[in-house]
């Protein structure tokens, strides 16, 4: 075997603390190494050309590149060696940047470590075998989870791109958080007026199948061939008949439960259409509050319904769809501010959240767009906004900035003045973060044109005095304590991961970060991809985002889906497990441990049980190979031989054993 070794400088990233020339000189002496050199940027065009040339001129059979992490450039170099005419699995990478030069400053020791890592890569490469990927068909359909603005945008873009779309939404109607907003910053245009038409488009698009009141039950398969089971929850109304006339809502005698769409500011009947622009505009029964479901008598809605669509015996329904790609757009939830005892923990009715305030401002809200205090319905004259409630606060485990609260608070301060001209708003802030287009101008307008008093400092406590609330905080610019007697306090609550996000991530094999937001494949260059091929992210499920960013990401995810589904066939990764049938005793331990269900037991021609790997499902994790008591399963490209050779290269055995079988 003839191996070429290329040691990358990576500018000063590696060459700064590793003597790359010395590493190359050492590598030249390793067994089977025919050529070793150092190169400025191995991944650059001249760098790659150098590799191709060397392979062709020196008739190399394999290439080792010692540079950065395989995550960054393993696919790049695999393409390079393939271009040079050798199988792409005759390439090995030694990570001497993240594992060496970035973590140590001692050149001598770094160089020694780099040499050892290169020796390991060479020893492994000597035992590599050519692997040929298989091709399989792609299902031309995409699943989008979450019907907020990001999911809606992704669904419309995919559908307009000619793909079939299945949109699954947990709530009764699509629209997400944006449907609850009154106006949007920085243009003060009506939220439902810009979102409404898009929602209608989703409802009417021939290529979009919409499942609301539905959740993902299970996901199996792999990129291009996912099988997804959707649980459509019982809504106790036959939606194929319901016309959305709303008669049942008017007559329903049970209307004591808080209305989730109005953030609990008012109550909703047990049979309900959440809001006038709902898509689909169909009624559903809440079984927790319905008198018929709870006590077995009532049934008024069934009597009054003109199309007889009420069905109290309806059951959950499971639907299975095959899709080629999945977009996750599950959005965010609001931070539960009851963790702040100093803000009353819900004891004072006139301390409300920003989203509740949006409902008070909205013409379709519980007060018809008139700002009224929850306690006594009076119009507040002094409104205090408190920012960073559940953002940038380590004490409640939310050290990150939620990003959009500065802007919506400014918007709400402006709208307050619009609604009540003789009102005065105070905004307690930490600092103003408004970097978007037109954003800084907008917050300035709130201060300068609308006279909102911005006070820099945190609020230490809120307590009632008479029918007012005393808001006590610090003005850190003036260096004094301030107290404001407020009629209404609005808490700008931060964003946190949507409830159930972690559980959904497990089903999709998408990793959540420590706060439950899904992790993208690369923070800069792959912002909508995940590490699971075929699963994409859009909107606030990846981190708090405002509407423009969510829409942008929805479109970006759709573009990725369209690119993926434009192919008729995909290549499977050949780095999968393989069973040696002669060794397998059919114990089935591998079947139990495989997290992907990729191994099944079959019978050989003598009727003996044997394990068999379903190649397209296998993710190459290798759990089965360490489980197998017989050593009958080997992970291609990471066989026991190859790993032992690496270990031996690092700590040579006293007695030399020939592993080159």
């Amino acid at each position: 075997m003839r191996i070429g070794v290329f040691i990358c400088h990576c500018g000063s990233n590696i060459a700064g603390t590793v003597d790359v020339a010395a590493v190359a000189r050492a590598a030249a002496k390793f067994p089977d190494v025919a050529y070793a050199t150092d190169t400025m940027y191995a991944c650059s065009e001249p760098g790659q050309e150098g590799i191709v040339q060397a392979v062709q001129e020196l008739q190399l059979d394999g290439v080792v590149v010692a540079s950065c992490t395989p995550r960054m450039h393993e696919p790049t170099f695999r393409r390079t060696v393939e271009r040079a005419g050798i199988n792409r699995y005759f390439f090995e990478m030694a990570n001497i940047r993240e594992h060496v030069s970035w973590i140590g400053k001692n050149t001598e020791r770094n160089t020694a470590k780099a040499i050892e890592l290169v020796r390991m890569a060479v020893e492994k490469l000597r035992r590599n075998r050519p692997l040929i990927p298989k091709r399989f068909d792609v299902v031309k359909r995409v699943l989008i989870i979450g019907g907020g603005v990001a999911g809606i945008q992704a669904a419309l873009d995919c559908a307009d791109g000619g793909q079939e779309v299945v949109l699954v939404e947990r709530e009764q109607s699509i629209g997400g958080k944006m449907a609850k907003l009154d106006k949007t910053f920085p243009t003060i245009d009506c939220s439902s007026c810009v979102l409404g038409p898009k929602m209608v488009d989703v409802g009417q698009h021939p290529k979009i199948t919409l499942h609301t009141l539905a959740e993902i039950e299970s996901v199996s398969g792999y990129v291009g061939n996912f099988q997804v089971t959707i649980r459509k929850k019982a809504r106790f109304v036959d939606w194929s008949k319901c016309t959305g006339c709303g008669l049942c809502m008017e007559k329903c005698p049970s209307r004591k439960a808080p209305d989730p769409f109005n953030e609990g500011l008012c109550t909703a009947p047990s049979i309900n259409i959440p809001f006038p622009q709902a898509i689909p505009k169909k009624a559903a029964i809440n079984p927790d509050t319905c008198i018929m479901k709870q006590k077995g008598k009532c049934g008024l809605c069934a009597k009054i319904c003109p199309v007889k669509c009420i069905d109290f015996d309806q059951q959950d329904e499971l639907v299975t769809v095959d899709v080629g790609a999945i977009v996750v757009a599950t959005g965010y939830d609001l931070f539960d501010w009851h963790k702040y005892p100093q803000y009353g923990q819900g004891r004072y009715p006139d301390v409300i959240t920003s989203l509740q305030y949006e409902r008070l401002l909205s013409a379709s809200g519980p007060t018809g767009g008139h700002i009224k205090r929850p306690s006594d319905g009076k119009e507040p004259k002094t409104v205090v906004f408190i920012q960073c409630v559940g953002s940038r606060d380590r004490s409640v485990d939310r050290p990150y900035c939620s990003g959009f609260c500065c802007m919506y608070t400014a918007k709400q301060a402006i709208l307050t003045k619009d609604h009540i001209p003789d009102s005065q708003s105070y905004v307690f802030y930490m600092d103003i973060r408004s970097p978007g287009k037109g954003y800084d101008e907008f917050t300035r307008r709130a201060m300068e044109e609308y006279g909102a008093q911005y006070v820099r400092g945190r609020v230490s406590m809120i307590y009632p005095k008479g029918d007012q609330l005393v808001v006590r905080g610090a003005d850190t610019l003036a260096g004094t304590q301030v107290e404001v007697a407020a009629d209404l306090v609005v808490l700008a609550v931060g964003a946190e991961a949507a409830r159930g996000a972690v559980a959904l991530g497990e089903k999709l094999r998408v990793v959540p970060d420590q706060y439950g937001f899904f992790v993208e494949s690369h923070p800069k260059l792959k912002p909508v991809e995940t590490n699971t091929a075929g699963v994409f992210l859009a909107g606030a499920c990846q981190g708090p985002k405002d509407i423009p960013a969510s829409v942008g990401q929805g479109s970006a995810a759709a573009a990725k889906v369209l690119a993926l589904l434009s192919k008729d066939q995909l290549e499977s990764d050949p780095q999968v497990s393989r069973v040696t049938p002669a060794r397998c005793v059919g114990c089935g331990k591998c079947v139990q441990t495989c997290p992907f269900g990729a191994i099944k037991l079959v019978e050989d021609r003598f009727g003996n049980p044997k394990a068999e790997v379903v190649e397209t499902v296998c993710q190459g994790c290798g759990i089965c190979t360490v489980t197998c008591p017989q050593g009958a399963i080997q992970l291609e490209h990471f066989t026991d031989n190859q790993i032992l050779a690496e270990v031996n290269a690092l700590c040579p055995p006293r007695i030399r054993v020939n592993y080159a079988s």
Binding site: P341, Q342, Q345, R347, M461, Y463, P464, K465
Partner: protein, 294 residues
């Protein structure tokens, strides 16, 4: 019968004699045995800890060691100030280097560990609110009170590790168990200005005045405290506050143990109600006689 070491603290010997006496009486009435720490000395509160942490910790460590010699693992004190100092010392002594410097000052090194707790915490956690309620024979029906904890009973939370530091409820629950009506007092953990008592009477008047004002706004008959300094500021200085703020507060300020004692039918002579400055008779008159049991 549960048993804890008892550290009365200096104020229990002077300004808050009635707190100490009523605490002992109430604990006896609910079956909690208090064993006095023998030969106890000052805990190093107010003066020492502001000057020298090692000296202050040594004063506390001596008392902790004496408490430990009783073979009990909890030492209870009625005074939040003593509690803070004992607790700080106990926690800081977990650091070996600090413990050595402290022990160098002591005749006998402080060896064992003993957990300082407020009597309030012991009553709620070891005796239990239900048990107290079961023993109440003369409920305070008709009396409306505001419970005031002061700023150091529960803070800093990571040190005191008892109840909620912004909205504590222990005293509220005990008072409810005693049959009183408890108003939700929003300023229950605000500072009364205690440490400014001597140099800046104006600050005390402003801060304590705010508390009395809030209590009056709730329409309560009395304020209930668990801190000798808070009680002194609100009660003894109430006439000074009235003069400074041109107010007319007449709100009696009880120790929670005094009211609890009444409910538990402890003889009035042991509760020291006569030592209160603001006349409590009007408030006590609100208590309705219990309905005859048939």
């Amino acid at each position: 019968m549960s048993k804890v070491a008892y550290y009365p603290g200096c104020s229990g010997q002077g300004t808050s004699l009635e707190y100490d006496r009523s605490t002992r009486a109430v604990c006896a009435a609910v079956g909690l045995e208090l064993v006095d720490v023998p030969d106890w000395s000052c805990c190093g509160s107010s003066p020492a800890h502001t000057v020298n942490h090692v000296l202050s910790a040594a004063l506390s460590a001596r008392n902790l060691d004496l408490a430990h010699s009783l073979g009990l693992d909890v030492v209870a004190t009625p005074c939040p100030s003593c509690l803070t100092n004992l607790r700080n010392a106990a926690l800081e002594m977990e650091d070996e280097a600090f413990r050595d410097t402290v022990n160098a000052l002591l005749d006998r090194p402080c060896a064992g560990r003993v957990d300082p707790q407020s009597v309030l915490q012991v009553l709620v956690e070891q005796v239990g609110v239900d048990e107290v309620a079961r023993r109440v024979t003369r409920p305070l029906t008709g009396l409306r009170v505001a419970c005031y904890y002061g700023c150091i009973m529960n803070r800093p939370p990571e040190r005191m590790r008892f109840d909620d530091h912004e909205n504590p409820m222990a005293m509220d629950r005990l008072m409810e168990a005693a049959g009183a009506e408890v108003a939700p007092f929003p300023l229950k953990v605000e500072c009364c200005g205690a440490s400014f008592g001597v140099p800046r009477g104006d600050i005390v008047a402003r801060l304590s005045g705010k508390l009395l004002d809030a209590a009056r706004g709730l329409g309560v008959d009395a304020v209930v405290t668990a801190c000798p300094l808070c009680q002194m500021n609100l009660d003894l200085r109430q006439s000074q506050i009235n003069a400074a703020l041109r107010e007319h507060f007449r709100i009696p300020v009880f120790y929670y143990t005094q009211l609890l004692g009444l409910a538990l039918d402890v003889p009035r002579s042991e509760l020291g109600l006569d030592r209160l400055c603001v006349d409590p008779r009007l408030a006590l008159g609100k208590i309705k006689a219990p309905a005859p049991v048939r």
